[in-house]
Symmetry: C2
Subunit: 307 residues, 2 copies
Amino acid sequence: MSLLVVGSVAFDEIETPFGKTDRILGGAGTFISLAASSLTDNINVVSVVGSDFPESYLKLFKDHGVNIDGVQIIQGEKSFFWAGKYHNDMNTRDTLVTELNVLANFNPVVPEAYKDCKYLMLGNLTPSVQKQVIEQLPNRPRLIAMDTMNYWMNSCWDDLMEVIGMVDVLIINDEEARQMSKEYSLVKAAQKILTLGPKYLIIKKGEHGALLFDKNNVFFAPALPLEDVFDPTGAGDTFAGGFIGYLAETDNISFDNMKNAIIYGSAMASFAVQKFGTEAIIGLSKEQIDERLQLFVDLVQFDISLK
Amino acid sequence: MSLLVVGSVAFDEIETPFGKTDRILGGAGTFISLAASSLTDNINVVSVVGSDFPESYLKLFKDHGVNIDGVQIIQGEKSFFWAGKYHNDMNTRDTLVTELNVLANFNPVVPEAYKDCKYLMLGNLTPSVQKQVIEQLPNRPRLIAMDTMNYWMNSCWDDLMEVIGMVDVLIINDEEARQMSKEYSLVKAAQKILTLGPKYLIIKKGEHGALLFDKNNVFFAPALPLEDVFDPTGAGDTFAGGFIGYLAETDNISFDNMKNAIIYGSAMASFAVQKFGTEAIIGLSKEQIDERLQLFVDLVQFDISLK
């Protein structure tokens, strides 16, 4: 089952109460594809970097079985760069630098070999870019999921609504769901957002877990209670990567299987926050992941008898 | 299995974005005992009210099988009264009035007939009062659970630590756990608090659910996602009442059974917030409660295959 991932491949510079990094590997496309690669093969990435992007990072993708033929390398230009600093509670952060660089004029090109993809994950990007990708696919994928952010709600609402109308699963956080729906209650927010096109809505609540809605059902996955959250950067994208990777690998898009996919995404995100950047999600063994999944089982499963 | 509940029986006056009440029935002892009465019999309450407390409210307890012989009625004095106003997000509130009245000099007296209790739930009260109750029991109950609040941490830390050292289960909210432990991480907070005496710690996170810890295990129960939270007053006490009622009825204090007890408490709390005061938790049928418990099962159960 081929999975197409579209999203930024970039540099991050991160400061947390625990320390500070240099420019390290980041970007939504990076976290999504690496997280998905823990589970499934045949992952193709469409993205763009500058000629400053190191060969070692490109090799990292290949070493994880992620195809990056669709990552354009723009000579003489610089890769997308984000720098941020987390506050003591790790729930809030200040963006210190955002340099769009190559992303400013990103024209996504889906290689021929990618076009038969069955699963498509659109990372957070300009809605018109997300739309361009969908329009390059001759056959609609079995499932299209997308992430977005409040920035696009403020700057290009109509474009955003158009692409949201084209996807199956929308993945946003609680603040974004409230802004999009103008409802404080997440249940009401979900009801409204599900009228915009997507059949499924995932609302991420950070350390408070994630909710999956369709018109008739709701499922809740907790975040794993951790002693320390070291670096939340990329946790949401890692979650999305685990989610879509699980669906692609199992090729089952029932609500029940989406529950498992969300648990899998939550497990991957629980690794992500334990080290800087992608460090904690690369090279995970099946045993390590199964052990983490078992923690989720133990965390929420109960056996109450009902008549 | 007799259950002894100690806690305020009082008047509340509540304003929310949805409306405003007159003086209605409230108090921790009220919510705890009424919630527990949905499941178990043989509930005895120790508390105090003034002669302004209406007979109809006393009758309400009796009608729910709750014994109130231990509720002192102080002639010529007034019952405890709290008035509060919730903000639009329903997560924050302003206390408008707190009149301790009869609670100011509350001298709890445990009637002889209550002294063989097997389960004891100490609602939020002055720690020295909670301690007085424990000391009146000739045999230690099988399980003692207690609630408290930040106010007592600030005003009588040593008394609080003494009574915490005498109980099995401490039930507090996330802010209180952080203040008590001086740790932001709830996992670290729990580890510290469990060294103070209790074998079990429940951290309530309001709309974000509740965590149960012992030294080796952690369990998470979500709050039910609701369209509207109408009035959160008493939700925490209702949760505690459902929890202790479930344990008393099943007479099983294993960690696994505590998981069920927390789900039961969460289900009762999900009713509590849907109407003002105690209105939504009185007169619930077994069918209504089982239906609600089924929503919790559907909300979190998943079936992922692990090697």
